[in-house]
């Protein structure tokens, strides 16, 4: 059984619309991450989240993006005013610790298509 489930598996949205991608950790891991993979390109780090606040973010993670864990379980990535270039696979990951080579468990990803 996967440690992390993501919903939806595929989302199509109109340019300019807001989308919310959801991540549900099965176990009580403390560190949360979002990565994205644009088709044909490398997986890129977006943000890490711990203790209800952002721990680290990349230059990709600008004001268009936000994360939260509103109910203490679901971890969400919100993309405001989507652009065509936001089309990508978005992966959520969790881990029990940061750094130290701890295994990160990934969800199956959400494929976002902006049209």
């Amino acid at each position: 059984e996967p440690e992390v489930t993501q919903t939806p598996s595929h989302q199509v949205t109109q340019m300019g619309q807001e989308v919310i991608l959801r991540c549900v950790p099965i176990s009580n891991h403390l560190y949360f991450y979002w990565y994205r993979q644009i088709l044909g390109q490398k997986v890129e780090f977006l943000v890490s989240f711990y203790n209800n606040e952002i721990s680290e973010k990349s230059e990709i993670f600008d004001d268009q993006f936000s994360v939260e864990r509103p109910d203490g379980s679901n971890f969400t990535l919100k993309i405001r005013s989507t652009k065509l270039e936001d089309s990508a696979m978005y992966f959520c990951a969790i881990s029990a610790a940061k750094g130290t080579g701890t295994e990160a468990f990934f969800g199956q990803g959400t494929r976002l298509t902006v049209v």
Binding site: K42, G99, G101
Partner: protein, 114 residues
């Protein structure tokens, strides 16, 4: 900035044979971690093997082993007795000690020929 390079976009191997996937990285750090992740068609990233940079001994996990050459900044993955279920994208990734993020290579698509 750290970078990870996988120079083989695609590799193929006959079932039951051995294949080696290459990975090189660039860093000025002395303490870090290296990983190989597998992404099957189900899309979920699955950890295959990890290596701590401070350990000289190469990590092994059953049929999977690495050749870690710290001075050369090389981290190759060897898969022995290849099985059809090994077919997937394989990603090499780097993590700096006490850092949150993984830095990824571009991936190598592994094809297993029956």
């Amino acid at each position: 900035a750290q970078t990870v390079t996988q120079s083989q976009p695609e590799m193929s191997v006959q079932e039951a044979e051995t294949v080696t996937l290459s990975c090189t990285y660039d860093t000025s750090e002395s303490d870090y971690y290296l990983f190989w992740y597998k992404q099957p068609p189900s899309r979920q990233m699955i950890l295959v093997i990890r290596q701590e940079a401070y350990k000289q001994q190469n990590a092994t996990e059953n049929r999977f082993s690495v050749n870690f050459q710290k001075a050369a900044k090389s981290f190759s993955l060897k898969i022995s007795d290849s099985q059809l279920g090994d077919a997937a994208m394989y990603f090499c990734a780097y993590e700096r000690d006490s850092n949150y993020q993984l830095i990824w290579g571009a991936g190598t698509k592994l094809i297993i020929k029956p």
